[in-house]
Every structure is written in structure tokens, then in C-alpha cells.
């Protein structure tokens, strides 16, 4: 069986940062990623990031991705691409489905000392009549098509959801040449940052706050969307329906942590709206209730790339310490600095709620280990 010291599931910003931090201390690391290129969400993020200039704010996500990949290369981190981790078993054995060609797969087992779950998040769906028609898709899927595969998903797009994902993806689809017919938001207020909304409104894009999607119409593919105003009890205001000609409906209704591997690993989970749903509990070192399994990034609660990078670093430092590559004084110093930076990053939008949810996650870990 293939052996390694540390195996990272998922090569997004969290997984890459965990690997870099550990490899710098001398740990032998393997990253396994399902995609044809590592980097996770970063290679879709063609916009300039928010955050502190200290954390590369103002830098485009794609460029942060290239930097992280280069560092991994310099440190001889082994990266398996087109490889899906399909199981986490006893004694730190991981099963990987390696895609050899379109039809050929090979099942490989790897024995490791430490596992980092950095699988990211998956998109929430919204169900309405017609939602299974071709042309109705997740906002993240549309972003992957346009920015990674360079295929425009449609020419006339209606976006459901005005969170930052909905707003940014709308902007990027417009940059790619699509017309955004409108953005629909059931809440009375826009969910994402006003600056992202204003970029769209000055291009003439209407934002329908207080509206919801009623139906997608079409035979072979969606060709019309019916939207309407919502009452406080979520019924539709009579006569408020608007029919829009579209060829694509994208849904930006939030993300939830991808926890399949953590579940299989027996990690205790916690449910919190501000984490995006169920997420594994962990301690100060990012270790879950299952010894030797760590978690970082969106998989530990949906946040952003900056926080994913910091959490990944925490895993890397903790693992290097636990394997004897870092002395505890040095490791403690590094961890403290990372937690301080994380606290700064969690001051923004919904800061209090997010910090509270992360706190509860730590407390639940302690309870589970004591109980």
C-alpha cells in the first residue's frame, strides 16, 4: 500500500496552505484533488479579493491560486489530480478513485499518519416548477463554466439570490458577454455587499428585492422565468407576476460544507446556520473528534478563501508539531498568530454570528471529548 505522512483531501486554498505549512517543516505530503487542476475555487475567482492588504486583498483569486501552486511545487508536495477520495477507513487508510482516462479508473489505497479534510462546499438547490429544465443551474456551476472552462452558459441570464456569490457571478457572466436580465432576492434587502450590487446597477441591471422565482418555463430548455413579489407569509402578491425571457437561470442560494468524508471518518458534527449547515467539530489545532483527522476551509464551515488559507495553515502547523517536525514553543507561537489573524478576518459582515458559530464548534468538540 502507498504510504505517506500527511494526506490532504482537496487542493483548494485550505488544502494547499495546509500542505505548504507542513511541507515547509519537513512533513511528506500528498494532496488528492478531484479536478484536473488544483486550486479549488480560486481559479474561478477572477475578481480582486476583499480583506486586508496584508492578506493579499486587491489581488485576484486566480493569482493567489498560482502562487500557492508554485509554492507546493517548490516544496515537492505530491499532487494527484483527477483523483476522488471515496472513503476514509480505520487506521488512516484512504481509498482513492484515480481517473486514468474517460473510461478507465483505478482504485488506490493510501496509508497515512494524518488526514486533512479540505473538501470545500457544495451549492444549495432551490426547487420550483421547472427547476430540472436544462439551463437552470447553480451560480457556482455557471462560474466554473465561464471562468474555468471558458464556455458561456447562456446569453440571457436570471440570477436567483443577491448574496456575494450571486452578485459576483452575475458581474462575471456580464464580463464574459452575457446579458443579466435581473437578480431576484426574496428578502427585502440585498444580501451581499452594496459595492458589488452597485457595479451591476450602473450597467442597468435591475435587482428585484422582495421577489422570488415562481416558475421556469420551456420545453427543451428554459426560455422564460416567472417571478413575483412575496408577502410576509411567503405567498405571492396577486398580480405581481413578471415574465422574463431568459435562456438560463442561475441559483446562488448559499453553500454547505462537503462533509461526506468527515462523516465516514466518524467525526462529530454540529449544525449551525452560520457555518452553512452541518460541519465537523474541531479543536484549537483543527483536529476533529476522530484522532488524526483534521479539517479546514469551507468544509469546516463556509467562509472565504482568506479564512480557508489560515485554517489550512493551522492544520499544517499542528500536524508538523504532532509528527515531531516543529517544537511546541515554535508551533504555539505560529498558531497564536494565525488565530489572531482569523479573529481579524471574522470582524466583517455577520462577524459576530460567524465568530459565535466558530466558538460553539470548539466548545462542542470539548464536550464530545469529555462526554
Amino acid at each position: 500500500m502507498k504510504q505517506c505522512e500527511m494526506l490532504v483531501i482537496g487542493g483548494g486554498p485550505a488544502g494547499l496552505s495546509a500542505a505548504i505549512e507542513a511541507a515547509e517543516a519537513g512533513v511528506q505530503v500528498v494532496i488528492i484533488d478531484a479536478n484536473e487542476k488544483a486550486g479549488g475555487q480560486l481559479f474561478k475567482q477572477i475578481h480582486k479579493f476583499f480583506g486586508s492588504s496584508m492578506h493579499r486583498a486587491g489581488t485576484r483569486g486566480i493569482d493567489i491560486g498560482e502562487e500557492l501552486l508554485q509554492k507546493c511545487k517548490d516544496l515537492n508536495v505530491e499532487i494527484w489530480l483527477n483523483s476522488l477520495v471515496i472513503g476514509v477507513y480505520d487506521n488512516n487508510v484512504v481509498a482513492v478513485d484515480v481517473k486514468k482516462s474517460l473510461t478507465e479508473h483505478e482504485l488506490v489505497k493510501v496509508q497515512t499518519k494524518k488526514i486533512v479534510i479540505a473538501t470545500g462546499a457544495s451549492e444549495n438547490a432551490v426547487k420550483f416548477p421547472g427547476w430540472t429544465l436544462p439551463g437552470v443551474m447553480g451560480a457556482g456551476a455557471a462560474q466554473t463554466m465561464a471562468n474555468f472552462h471558458r464556455v458561456l452558459p447562456g446569453k440571457k441570464v436570471l440570477m436567483i439570490g443577491s448574496g456575494n456569490v450571486g452578485l459576483i457571478v452575475s458581474y462575471q457572466l456580464m464580463q464574459a458577454g452575457a446579458e443579466i436580465v435581473g437578480i431576484v432576492e426574496a428578502q427585502p434587502n440585498i444580501n451581499g455587499y452594496a459595492v458589488h450590487a452597485s457595479k451591476l446597477t450602473r450597467e442597468g441591471i435591475p435587482i428585484y428585492t422582495g421577489y422570488t422565482i415562481i416558475e421556469a418555463k420551456g420545453k427543451e430548455r428554459v426560455n422564460q422565468a416567472v417571478i413575483g413579489k412575496v408577502n410576509p407569509d411567503w405567498s405571492i402578491v396577486e398580480g405581481s407576476e413578471i415574465t422574463l425571457d431568459v435562456d438560463t437561470i442561475t441559483i446562488g442560494a448559499g453553500l454547505k460544507p462537503l462533509i461526506g468524508m468527515a462523516y465516514m471518518g466518524g467525526c462529530k458534527l454540529i449544525n449551525d446556520r452560520f457555518l452553512g449547515g452541518w460541519a465537523p467539530c474541531h479543536n484549537y489545532n483543527m483536529e476533529t473528534t476522530t484522532k488524526n483527522i483534521y479539517v479546514a476551509g469551507d468544509a469546516s464551515g463556509v467562509e472565504e478563501a482568506n479564512t480557508a488559507i489560515e485554517e489550512g495553515k493551522l492544520c499544517g502547523v499542528s500536524i508538523a508539531e504532532s509528527l515531531g517536525y516543529l517544537d511546541s514553543t515554535k508551533a504555539e507561537e505560529l498558531k497564536k498568530a494565525i488565530w489572531n489573524r482569523l479573529a481579524g478576518l471574522r470582524e466583517g459582515a455577520h462577524g459576530t454570528e460567524r465568530t459565535g458559530a466558530k466558538q460553539k464548534q470548539l466548545e462542542e468538540y470539548t464536550k464530545a471529548m469529555e462526554g
Binding site: H47, K48, F49, F50, G51, S52, S53, A57, G58, T59, R60, M174, Q175, G177, E179, P188, N189, I190, Y193, A194, V195, H196, A197, S198, K199, L200, T201, R202, E203, G204, I205, I207, T209, G210, G344, L345, E347, G348, A349, G351
Partner: protein, 165 residues
């Protein structure tokens, strides 16, 4: 209907929040306008300004504050702002025309001297303008900064090039 409902900022909102440069300052020459009204965790505006004219401070969620006396209207911050919320206005040309500079991240075919339709914050065509300057340096990192000459009465309103729908 306010910003949170429509996504459309107005000059009145900015003036009310004491976030719009004074007429006096605009008459003297180019000056930045920070159209950033929410406490978001972000500070490239502050760190990019070569004249320390924008202050955010240690807590990066603070609102950026412009010192209109220190600002030279150099336009550096326009491309640095992650929210594309910084503009530079100038009412010092003449009594008839002024300029507005804004970020532009779309493909374009216009050139200096071309006449284009100008759009306000709601995307409505409000007047015609002439392209005065197109800046796309390595530092602006693929964010083009366009300067448009327009009738002076629209300097406080125009924020982009009109998009035909």
C-alpha cells in the same frame, strides 16, 4: 427605496453621509469620491494611495475616509479598490464641461476621442461624453480606468458607459 433595496446609490445619500467632496474642492481640480457606504472588511484603497489621502485604520471594516485636501486626484485608488467603488471627478476644466474617471472591466473597442453615451448610477443614459483617457497599466492589474469628458452638470451623476440592452 434605498441602497439596500435597489443597489443604487445617489449623490444625496453620499452628501447626507458627508462623503462627497465639496464643490469648492471639485472646482480646484481632480478629487476622489469614495462610494463605499458599508462597513466591509477591506482596505486596498488606503494602502494604494500614494498620498495617504484615504484612511481606514487598524479595523479594516471601518468606512474609508477621504481627506480632500491631501487627495491629488491621481486615480491610483480606482483600480486598487476591490469593490470598484472609487471614482475621480474634476470640475476645474471650465464652466461647461468636467470629467469623471471610473473603473471599467469589460471588453471595449472605444478609443481616445470617441463619443460615447454616458450612464448614471442606475445605468440610465443621461448624456454624451468624449473619451479623454484610457489607462491600463501593470499596476492597475487588468482594471481599465476610463476618463470621460461630460457636461459639468452630469459630473456628479455619470459613473459608467451606457450599456445597450
Amino acid at each position: 427605496m434605498n441602497l439596500q433595496q435597489t443597489g443604487i446609490l445617489t449623490k444625496a445619500d453620499l452628501v447626507e453621509a458627508v462623503r462627497y467632496p465639496s464643490e469648492e474642492r471639485m472646482k480646484k481640480g481632480p478629487v476622489a469620491v469614495c462610494e463605499c457606504m458599508q462597513n466591509i472588511p477591506c482596505n486596498p484603497c488606503e494602502t494604494s494611495c500614494p498620498f495617504q489621502a484615504i484612511h481606514v485604520g487598524e479595523n479594516i471594516s471601518n468606512l474609508p475616509k477621504l481627506d480632500e485636501q491631501k487627495c491629488t486626484g491621481c486615480t491610483t485608488c480606482i483600480a486598487a479598490c476591490s469593490g470598484l467603488a472609487l471614482f475621480v471627478v474634476d470640475k476645474s476644466y471650465s464652466d461647461e464641461v468636467g470629467t469623471v474617471s471610473f473603473p471599467y472591466e469589460y471588453q471595449y473597442s472605444f478609443q481616445i476621442g470617441d463619443k460615447v453615451k454616458a450612464a448614471n448610477r442606475a445605468g440610465k443614459c443621461v448624456c454624451e461624453g468624449t473619451i479623454k483617457k484610457i489607462v491600463n497599466t501593470k499596476k492597475s492589474d487588468r482594471t481599465t480606468v476610463v476618463t470621460l469628458e461630460i457636461p459639468i452638470d452630469f459630473v456628479d451623476e455619470v459613473r459608467s458607459i451606457y450599456r445597450q440592452r
